[in-house]
Symmetry: C2
Subunit: 575 residues, 2 copies
């Protein structure tokens, strides 16, 4: 028997569900409703449209075979009816109908449904600060805003911009403005680091350093107090707590919130932060109403708790699962690891699972292995260092997350994607130590970087490796008198160590090459607590084991080594 | 109490085990024995050394911090004794000692052990054909051979070469010779396809086509009968069953065999094909003797049966596990998926798990989903088509393998590595449908290529998608009279379809654009069995579902579409 299906929201989850369902149940009558005129677009591509990498906005709305996904396309090719510029006003769950309004005519009418899907998405959060409504201030709410931003830039109206918000979209927009248009761009983030809650501070610091090298002025721990008016309603700058930044364009990218008013008003269960609650079949507490995409609360596969993961990729997968369940094919969406990846100029930064900071907050017996291996065979010409951090629970030895920062290529994808597959299955350090990464010198190391990170995690768990935390190390480097007995044991090549010995003095920075430690350890001054450093941290670990064996058991290893330090933008030599 | 450990073989597994064990048990006396003078090298890097990408052979023997791993290095830095040019002659398991011979002096003596490790590696198989011992004929047995090959090339002594063996090493060597040295190179493979037993024939055919485009002359299904002598003991050519190929250099890369004579003679269990049998702790049937690396039989995580996986990456992981177990830390090596990846000029080809052909042979209810999605967001400028095939068992819905062919970058690594992580855990099609691949347009599609392949697999399993096999399709294209009722329904853009309609005639090749099928299906001639084609196969599936709904249930979809056909080197237009 034919059923009537109404889907509210036609960007990602909605169209995916509608089209899949029409294939599963060709007799059913499926209606997609959206308040916008532009639908079914790749919102994640907006920064690449603004930058000009994607030449026309219609490409974000086109299929891979270059046909624009407009209402006619859905009707003709998919057999799905689309009502654009149509806002859903209210759901009558008793009568099973949705009240909608045509935004052009103001006409209202009811759409009856047998099953309803909410794919209402998210809306950008707007900072409640004076001037937020000035001309020239944008959120990245939809394609229309993106089109307007690019128009202004391409007309030469923008020479300075401020992006408020150091999350992924803010950073991508800052790159788009700087890299391709040469707009002098500042990036403001209220929190002390970029990508807060996504990566741990060293990764954020490496990213910040790269952005600064690429001429983005990054201000972290600094908030926008108000936007400055030219007296005629146009923005000319941003006043922060510390400075005034001139700007012809201000982009607010301070996060998004689930669009769930319709659900809440219909009496559906919603989390305190607005995510529509769904079960693993993506049903709300009304079994005839499903929800998917940026409007729902999903489950973290790491913590087991509610989380928010507004991503087009998840929306699509969820949409398909809604269609299956509506059609009578049982399908489940178990939750998310929270995989994240982005390009930032010449670098890639990515994460999956949870950060060390989050793991501590969640009450895990959290620890981390910070490493800096090559991203492919170290003898292969194109190899480069990648910074990798595995976060784990010492008690259960379960891996909780992985973070990576390296060159802009797909090598980090491989590590993060393999890690997510394992984390979703409750993978342990031992699973990571043996996971089979396809090996050939142009792609990976014989001991893959995630195997190697797991080895470090094992050595930490089993008390074979004692680390000094990076922040602890940096604080001491800034004030060595805090721990007068501490000294660096630099086991790199003497030529690498020499400038450090000269800078810090031979009592604080002792050079003894790795290969000679066994033979010459007797020459080391006594009474020191050694902080062992090398480039990656692996040789340092070996030397620590050796010193331990001699009974000198108070040394500490700088995990990740100077490869990490050099990427943080720490400058020990300029003063 | 200190123990004496002897490790036979010092290339990958042996040194890894020795060094790890010395860290775990610094008091133990560890001796590495190898018959070669050059040890601890990255054998997988040999093709890149021959090509010149790696400038000096010592780089293959160097650490990431550029120190050569010679016996002095192992002694000084690692505390491990190394005896090179020393051959292990026999193991006396009762007395727990190994008889060794110094190959320079001929002196023999015994090494006592508490625990012994066999890391004797593999030897290249030498074809038993006349002329195999001529000057100019090489196997890739060790670094010495590689050094000699490169010397001859760089001295201008090689203008034509024949590589016998179309496995990974043979292909890599053919690339090295052709690409960087301009040597006119032929590649001979006895089996009907390249990479036999590793990938299914369409993937081998795409690879062959690319090699031919890059000026490697590839002859499959053709064997070397004998090598031709210049009358003075130097090779000048290869006589195959079909032709004579001139050559100044012949490389035999016809596979390797475990070097297990020592084990067998000591009464240790060995498979019929020579792999030393080990348990999950990598112990042989003598609990004081471990074995790892290219000399052992390991377990396929897909079939549960013995398999052979001679790879430096696995050898390293196994070596560490031997060390842990010897030191009293329980550690297990459960087996391999069989992940494989290689660069071939501008392309990457990879596989994990087993092929469709192997899955049928193993008795699975085998099926496959062949797809050709973009490797990143289809609107992102650098996107390119990747050909992906998921192999699965219809009954259990377990995924058995994944194969991929695409551009030379790391994007295929990500899919194969995530797949291997899931396959090792018994992952099903549904696991692949929801596996979380990190998404941003520069890295992936909103619906990742492996999610999409799983969707196709689901549709096949659940009888929503009916496919025509590629070989069946190609046979029919060569002789359309075999099935006079069959006709192509080409749903691509009319401009794409036009040359095909002209070539094959409007009764055999009918063009009706995808977006117009619903409206104009009534115009289709009746009495035809439609083979629906598009570029990737996804639109074809939608049209099949629609035709089914109309009761026309005999259509077939060309999965992977013309994207696959165009890469096979099929030429329908030249005649």
């Amino acid at each position: 028997m034919s059923k009537k299906i109404v889907v509210i929201g036609a960007v990602a989850a909605g169209p995916k569900a509608a089209c899949r369902l029409k294939r599963l149940q060709p007799d059913w009558e499926i209606t997609l409703v959206d308040q916008d005129s532009l639908i079914s677009y790749g919102g994640c591509g907006i920064p690449y449209y603004v930058s000009g990498d994607v030449s026309d906005e219609s490409e974000l709305r086109a299929t891979s075979f270059h046909v624009v996904r407009d209402p006619a396309f859905f009707n003709n090719a998919k057999g799905v009816q689309v009502m654009t510029r149509t806002r859903a006003l209210a759901i009558d769950r008793q009568a099973k109908k949705v009240r909608v309004e045509n935004l052009d005519t103001g006409d209202q009418h009811d759409l009856a449904y047998d099953q309803l899907m909410l794919a209402t998405g998210a809306r950008p959060f707007e900072l409640p600060i004076p001037g937020a409504d000035l001309d020239g201030v944008f959120t990245i709410a939809n394609l229309h805003k993106a089109i307007e931003i690019r128009k202004r830039i391409s007309q030469g109206k923008v020479s300075r911009a401020v992006v408020i918000g150091g999350g992924a979209i803010g950073i991508e927009m800052a790159e788009a403005l700087t890299d391709l248009w040469g707009v002098e761009t500042s990036l403001l983030e209220l929190e002390p680091q970029l990508l807060p809650c996504i990566v741990d501070w060293p990764f954020a610091a490496m990213l910040k350093q790269h952005l600064m090298e690429k001429n983005v002025s990054v201000y972290t721990g600094e908030s926008a107090m108000h936007l400055i008016d030219d007296g005629q309603g146009k923005v000319i700058g941003v006043q922060t707590g510390l400075r005034r930044l001139e700007a012809d364009l201000v982009i607010m990218a301070v996060g998004v919130r689930p669009r769930s008013e319709l659900a809440r008003e219909a009496g559906l269960a919603v989390t305190p932060w607005g995510g529509i609650k769904v079960n693993q079949r993506l049903q709300t507490n009304d079994p005839d109403i499903y929800a998917a995409g940026d409007c729902i609360a999903t489950t973290s596969l790491v913590t087991g708790r509610d989380t928010y993961a507004p991503l087009g990729s998840l929306a699509n997968r969820e949409g398909r699962i809604v269609a299956d369940n509506m059609a009578g094919i049982p399908a489940m969406f178990k939750g998310v690891c929270g995989s994240f990846i982005m390009k930032a100029f010449d670098r890639c930064i990515a994460a999956t699972g949870i950060s060390y900071e989050a793991a501590q907050f969640e009450g895990f017996d959290a620890d981390y292995a910070l490493t800096s291996p090559p991203d492919r065979a170290h003898f292969f010409p194109e190899q480069a260092v990648v910074i990798l951090q595995l976060v784990f629970d010492r008690r259960s030895r379960r891996v909780l997350g992985l973070q990576a920062f390296g060159m802009m290529n797909d090598s980090i994808s491989a590590r993060v994607d393999a890690a997510a597959a394992l984390i979703a299955k409750g993978g342990t350090i031992e699973d990571f130590a043996t996971v089979e990464m396809a090996y050939a010198p142009p792609f990976s190391s014989a001991i893959d970087s995630i195997n190697a990170a797991a080895y470090v995690a094992e050595n930490l768990c089993d008390h074979r490796l004692r680390r000094i935390d990076l922040d602890h190390f940096l604080r001491w480097m800034n004030d060595m008198d805090r721990e007068p007995d501490w000294a660096i044991l630099d086991i790199r090549h003497p030529l690498e160590a020499a400038p450090y010995v000269e800078k810090f003095g031979a009592d604080k920075w002792v050079a003894l090459q790795y290969e000679q430690v066994r033979a010459r350890q007797g020459e080391l001054p006594t009474g020191k607590t050694w902080i062992i450093v090398c480039n990656a941290g692996t040789r340092s670990y070996e030397v620590q084991v050796f010193l331990d064996h001699l009974g000198k058991t108070d040394s500490m290893v700088l995990c990740g080594g100077l490869n990490v330090i050099s990427r943080l933008g720490v400058d020990w030599f300029s003063t």
